[in-house]
Amino acid sequence: MNDASVKQPTYYEEVERKGYSRRDFMKFVSMMTAFIGLENSAIGDVAKALETKPRLPVIWLHFQECTCCSESFIRSSHPIVADILLDKISLDYTETLMAASGVQAEQAMKNTMTKYKGQYILCVEGSVPMAADGVYCMIGGKTSLQILEEAAEGAAAIIAWGSCASNGCVQAAKPNPTAATPIHKLVKGKPVIKVPGCPPIGEVMAGVIVHYLTFGRIPELDKLGRPKAFYSKRVHDSCYRRPFYDAGLFVESFDDENAKKGYCLYKVGCKGPSTYNACGVMKWNNGTSYPIQSGHPCIGCSEENYWDNGRLYERASSFAGFGIEATADNIGKAALAATGVAVAAHAIATNVRKKKLIFELEKEGQKSEKELES
């Protein structure tokens, strides 16, 4: 097992050891600086931090999830992101990628937890099932909640990595049979950085770690606990199809002429206008593309409850409690018809029930009219 007294190598030492040139390293540094929203002048700070500071120990836990977050992470645009940040750091403990297994793996995690108490970053991928005493997800004989609580105790900060950990994602969809619960609802007294997305963009993760390393504190978060640098703009705001939206030119169906022309996907259910993420800017898979660029509407995967908030290919959503076909406008039209009928019925009833009153008013008016004539 690792000796606590051995000094951890810095990131730069690891980069060198892996055979990257100084130029590669500086490219990575400037990219990360731009991603986390810092000025050019901060490139030096970031480089210095990566050169001088020992690598951050990271424990990466997997609960109820599909590992798409890890998959996304190892495909991030710069190889150093995966090679150094993930490979080196998280080998301390991550079920998917570590070599150890069984008792040895559990021991490795325990060692990291005691050795780096109060220093390590805890990444949680997946939600914690709370139903049936947590039996839906158990590792090494312990429930997810037990593992989380143990690991969270000595963590400097917690990254809720992906929609599962941030808001429960698909397994928390109604009726949420396993009572899948996001991390921020279970851990108290520790900073929780939510990085929602299904999966989230790999660079965001790297950006959070680099930010923490450079400044010694977590990045600025928005009201929902997401790093502002990546989640303060809607996908809509950085969408290259936005001019078509403003012009009022929309794709009506996936095989129409407008789809070929690359018009806006708003009418086929694009959730870009309601989704806060950096997809339009950072893109995916080494900056190759992102859903809208490939002709598919944004499904809003980084938004809470996106699976329950209506259908993926329609703007209108079903009205809670009225069945799947009942959109707001259908209910509205029915209410409108009911109101119309009620008004008509009331008008008829008025003429019947208040006949005398109306008759008297009329008579009075007629009388005045006659007297005027006479």
């Binding site: 929309f250 309601s274 029930r353």
Partner: protein
């Protein structure tokens, strides 16, 4: 006055709706119509084909622009009306809308029996709003509030001005923009249904009371019978201290 005319009601002109109330009302009508029409369009824009470059067109942009401008007018008009509820005449006072007293509820129940269930009895003759109408307007104020909060909450992210940014907390309260947008859409239907019932009931009151209900929002006057005037003569501006 000749006794010859005693068999007809003597009507007294009462200045019920002051000019600021009338301006508020009609501005609200225009702005709400604009908001509903543009809102429907934004929710489900028309299919369009064009040979023009997208950069030469701004259809959706204009609809949204009108929606946002109308929203600002709507909001400040609403704020003004709240202010006028404290400085305006007794018919504009906030006490006409908020059901605080037992008398308010009693009157509401009476209006329900007379005007909705059409039971027989002495007609209810109110001068300004009746309690039921006042309470309904109170509900519309709540709906106004919901629309302003959700609307500006959604708008906050695309604004650089501090004012809409004040509402940035709203979507996070509901759990994101998707659900906030839906609440905004659902609540809009309340305005449509309200408008229909409201306009119908104005016709109704004009029809069965014959006191100029329809035109009152134009000139501000209603006409009340001498008996009604006498009955209400000593009424204080606060209906809670009213004598029947």
């Amino acid at each position: 006055m000749s006794t010859k005319y005693l068999h007809v009601h003597k009507l007294r002109r009462v200045y019920v709706w002051e000019k600021p109330v009338r301006i508020y009302h009609w501005l609200n009508v225009v702005v709400l119509l604009a908001l509903i029409i543009t809102g429907f369009y934004i929710g489900n824009p028309l299919a369009q084909l064009s040979t023009k470059e997208a950069s030469d067109r701004y259809t959706m942009g204009w609809f949204r622009y009108v929606h946002f401008v109308a929203a600002y007018i709507f909001f400040f008009n609403f704020l003004f009306r709240i202010y006028w509820g404290f400085v305006g005449n007794k018919y504009a006072n906030w006490r006409q809308f908020v059901p605080f007293s037992k008398k308010f509820y009693k009157e509401m129940w009476y209006v329900i029996r007379m005007d909705i269930l059409m039971l027989k009895g002495r007609e209810h003759m109110s001068i300004g709003h009746n309690a039921m109408a006042g309470f309904t307007y109170f509900l519309t104020f709540l709906a106004f509030l919901v629309q302003c909060l959700t609307g500006f909450g959604l708008y906050a992210a695309m604004s650089t001005w501090w004012f809409p940014k004040l509402f940035a907390w709203v979507p996070s309260l509901f759990g994101g923009d998707i659900i906030t947008r839906q609440i905004h859409h659902w609540a809009m239907w309340f305005f449509i249904l309200f408008a229909i019932v409201h306009v119908y009931l104005v016709f109704y009151h004009d029809y069965v009371e014959g006191r100029g209900e329809m035109s009152s929002m134009g000139g501000g006057w209603k006409f009340i019978e001498e008996e009604v005037f006498e009955r209400n003569h000593h009424q204080t501006p606060n209906p809670t201290k009213d004598t029947k």
